[in-house]
């Protein structure tokens, strides 16, 4: 007889509801359950912690915890957009809004919370939002188009996240907090003051000790009036004043609710009905609602385990947290306010740099109790582990926040000094021991592999730097080295070689090889060095010293095709071309019987030219005003454009003119890989700029710059880098971006790959380019200015130089063309006769 599976119904498909399903499925015995999930939102669970990223890239899918198919693959009966509206506890059934009735053996409330909206007069006015769901964000984005200034009510963690969202929408943010400091639950007075100063320096207005009396305005909100009669003008308001557990259904069916909301649970997370559990932000445990994701995950794990007869209990959870708020690190851990009796406090305050660090230690100075970090939280993970694992402190505990100052090395620091049981990822409960074991047994070399295998770092992501350290140290301890050498001829990385070339002013491959390499070179190092030399000195690539280094296509300044003929692509900047020039292209194609094709980059490719015909063809093209399109080179290809504001009824800027300006600025720039760009005249994005290495989209106020996208084998969208910048700033950022890429990328790595590998990612790139954190901004601009100044059309030089022209023959001992070329005709045009088969 078939045993009946137990039915588990989960109400709510948020982060914790999803985690419950995942935890349950991962356990042995889970095949004895049928899981039913009812969610109110239309999309599957997504990462609310990183909601503000939606503003920077507009990509909701990236936030998804697991795609819809995941639920189907795991046989979860999932109903989205269909909240549970009633529970019959006697018959053990639930009823959904759409009328589905489902029986359950165990019921799990994971209904989460809603934004708490204080009952302030005028709160129903237009332009007042909460910050909770992707739909909230969409509504805000829509409304924000007519706004210049926005106010966030609430100076806590979520409020500051919301302020970041306003910044990303190019709205001047103001934060209003009732308490006398920011983040009152995590920071002390001095820490809050440092954070306030940092926020103000970033143009976030901070208004403390303010309680809002009412919102003023006709239909839409226009100002906040405070109880002290002061007024703050605004175009929109975001309320982020805390959370309110979603306990209305639980209350309706008679479960016990706390006096200020929340479904009461015991240590097993059971409600007053033993078959009903509550987890996450809707649960009230010992008078406490946990508004963080880590304790929610812990609860999910406990209920899932206990369903399979484990005996786990939820006890008070550590509320330690570290986050980056608008680029400012803030962390708070353990006993952050030093409330433990007789505890002592060490404080480091650097008002110059905006750094505040506080640690609280036991009376005997041996153990760390907790602390607060603002402005620099690099030591957070170490400090947290030191306090959690009760590690005995060094004799001078102040070293923990000051760093060692000379003398002997500071003991007890570094991730390897932690015990194996130290919890590195508290969201997923992964210990150092588990991580090291995974790295060693699977021979992992990349942090992504470690994350995929152990799930560490996939929650809040705060432990990722530690994972990187752990991986590096573990690899080192196994005697492994990460290979960065260019090839067998150079024991240097590309970046090191480029530095050598610049420092020693080396101008040829042979000189570099004799000084810093060995052997004769190969097809890996030759083109790589050729590219470095070209993007440093910008000499003609076919000069005798350089010609032999050039890869297949660069060698003849054309793209080799099947059969050994070449294709010719003249530059058509921005895709704009006159009728006369079109006629010239047509005449050339006709004269040399070339196959014609429009490329994806808005230009025309002429195929089937024999090597000796190339200079003749280019002579005609150059006389007609064309120049090399560099389709053969690892360099800028095209800057695609839509027709823009001159013709298009939607366009807001002249995208064609800007595309031409950009294309002419960077034409011929040799780089580690090809570069593509595009300019769109409005947000409809007809030029597909977000799939380019650097893409520009016009806005009402200027340009939005997107970086590091590509199509190809592994398509990747470009990331929004800067918004509403003027033309000059846009070009300055691109100058710096391209030169920084040329300086630091591995050979043949596109900008997307380069960014993916970059430690610190897009934020670091912004730091380098916008904030000039490395102090090389002007140098990069100078280098680019040199490249622009020294640009010459390579084909013009060949056409005018008889010595170079001589190289364009198939045989050097006879003017005869290659006798084995064969062609066929299809659709009225010439084609090569396939790959050669017999000779």
């Amino acid at each position: 007889m078939e045993t009946l599976k137990k039915k588990i119904v989960v109400i709510g498909n948020g982060m914790v509801g999803y985690k419950f399903c995942e935890k349950l499925l991962s356990k042995k015995g889970s095949e004895n359950f049928d899981i039913y999930v009812f969610g109110e939102e239309n999309r599957p669970a997504y990462d609310r912690v990183h909601l503000s990223e939606y503003f920077s890239d507009g990509n909701a899918d990236k936030l998804t915890m697991a795609p819809f198919e995941w639920y189907l693959q795991n046989n979860i009966h999932i109903h989205l957009g269909d909240p549970v509206v009633h529970v019959n506890r006697q018959e053990k059934t639930i009823t959904s809004l759409k009328g589905i009735t489902q029986s359950y053996d165990k019921l799990v409330f994971a209904t989460g919370s809603a934004a708490f909206v204080p009952p302030i007069k005028g709160v129903e006015k237009e332009g007042i939002f909460v910050y909770r769901t992707i739909e909230d964000l969409d509504m805000m984005m829509d409304y924000s188009k007519k706004c210049k200034k926005g106010v966030v009510i609430g100076g806590g963690l979520l409020g500051l996240e919301a302020a970041k969202a306003l910044l990303d929408m190019n709205i001047e943010p103001h934060v209003v907090e009732f308490a006398p400091r920011l983040m009152p639950r995590q920071l002390d007075e001095d820490g809050g003051a440092v954070l306030k100063a940092k926020m103000e320096a970033l143009n976030v207005g901070i208004h403390l000790n303010k309680s809002t009396a009412y919102f003023d305005g006709e239909e839409a909100v226009t100002s906040l009036v405070f109880n002290d009669d002061t007024v703050l003008l605004t175009d929109m308001v975001v309320i982020s004043a805390g959370i309110k557990p979603r306990d209305e259904l639980a209350a309706k069916i008679g479960l016990e609710i706390g006096p200020r909301g929340g479904i009461k649970v015991n240590n097993q997370l059971a409600t007053s009905d033993k078959d009903i559990f509550a987890i996450g932000e809707c649960a009230l445990h010992e008078g406490m609602i946990y508004g963080l994701v880590a304790p929610g995950y812990e609860m999910a794990d406990i209920v899932a385990s206990n369903l399979l007869n484990a005996e786990k209990e939820f006890t008070a959870f550590d509320m330690s947290t570290k986050l980056k708020l608008i680029g400012v690190d803030v962390a708070s851990f353990g006993d952050c306010f030093g409330t433990t009796p007789d505890s002592k406090t060490i404080v480091l305050q650097d008002k110059n740099k905006g750094i505040y660090k506080r640690i609280n230690i036991t009376a005997d100075g041996k153990h760390l109790l907790g602390g607060i970090l603002v402005g620099d939280a690099e030591s957070y993970n170490m400090l947290l582990q030191t306090s959690k694992n009760n590690i005995v402190l060094p004799p001078n505990p102040e070293d923990l926040i000051l760093g060692a100052r000379g003398g002997s090395e500071a003991g007890g620091s570094g991730v390897m000094s932690l015990p194996d049981e130290a919890l590195i990822c508290s969201c997923e409960n992964v210990t150092k021991g588990q991580l090291c074991e995974a790295i060693v047994t699977n021979d992992f070399t990349e942090v992504g592999q470690v994350m995929k295998c152990t799930k560490a770092g996939t929650g809040c992501g705060g432990c990722k730097p530690m994972l990187v350290d752990l991986l590096k140290e573990t690899m080192k301890s196994q005697g492994k080295l990460v290979k960065t050498e260019l090839c067998e001829h150079y024991h240097y990385s590309r970046q090191e070689l480029l530095d050598l070339i610049k420092f020693h002013k080396i101008k040829t491959f042979d000189a570099l090889l004799s000084q810093f390499g060995h052997g004769s070179g190969c097809e890996v190092c030759k083109p790589a060095v050729a590219s470095m030399l070209a993007s440093t000195w910008n000499e003609m690539v076919l000069k005798p010293a350089h010609a032999g280094l050039q890869d297949t296509n660069d060698r003849f300044l054309a793209n080799i095709q099947r059969g050994g003929t070449y294709s010719v692509v003249p530059r058509i900047p921005g895709g704009e071309i006159t009728a006369d020039k079109l006629i010239v292209i047509g005449e050339v194609a006709k004269k040399y019987n070339l196959y014609c094709k429009i490329t994806g980059g808005q230009r025309i490719d002429l195929f089937g030219a024999q090597v000796h015909e190339l200079p003749e063809i280019w002579e005609i093209l150059i006389n007609a005003g064309f120049e090399s399109g560099h389709a053969y080179a690892k360099s800028l290809r095209t800057v695609k454009s839509c027709v823009g504001s001159t013709w298009c009824r939607f366009g807001v800027q002249d995208s064609v003119a800007f595309a031409i300006q950009v294309e002419e600025r960077y034409r011929g720039l040799r780089s580690p890989h090809k570069l593509k760009s595009a300019v769109s005249g409005c947000t409809r994005e007809c030029a597909e700029a977000q799939s380019k290495d650097f893409g520009i989209i016009a806005t009402e106020k200027g340009w939005n710059l997107y970086l590091c996208g590509n199509g190809g084998v592994k398509p990747q969208h470009a990331v929004l880098f800067a918004s509403d910048i003027d033309t000059e700033t846009c070009l300055k950022y691109i100058d710096r971006f391209l030169m920084f890429y040329i300086r630091t990328a591995d050979p043949l790595s596109r900008t997307a790959t380069w960014l993916n590998k970059m430690e610190g990612g897009i934020e670091y790139l912004k730091d380098v380019i916008i904030n000039d954190c490395l102090g090389i901004g002007e140098e990069l601009e100078r280098e680019m200015a040199f490249m622009i100044e020294t640009y010459k059309c390579e084909w013009k030089e060949v056409v005018e130089n008889p010595e170079l022209r001589k190289r364009f023959t198939h045989f050097v001992n006879t003017p005869a063309p290659d006798p084995v070329l064969e062609f066929k005709e299809e659709r009225g045009q010439k084609f090569p006769n396939g790959w050669g088969t017999k000779i």
Partner: protein
Amino acid sequence: MIDTAKNTKWIKACSTSDVPESSGACVLLEGEQIAIFNFTTTGKWYATQNLCPHKMQMALSRGMIGDLNSEPKVACPFHKKNFSLNTGECLSGDDYQIKTYEVKVENDLVYVLV
């Protein structure tokens, strides 16, 4: 000059300046396409068939030259198959074999033993 034993002879292919430095060029000798390679830094010269056996392309003379563990080689410009210039053996792990020829340079002229 004829080597009667092997029925081969030295044929003048081109002048040294016809082959770009650290690079290759193609000559047509007795109806055969032959690639000649000039290792400028070591002063050595090599010659092979111009045909890459991988996709039957007349292309080896346009390939980049260099060495692999000190073995002189050429990389086909099409798909970067490597061939030893000493033995003609394919160094990329495929079963191809190309013909090699002896080369000598006299008075700035390049001769190939065909």
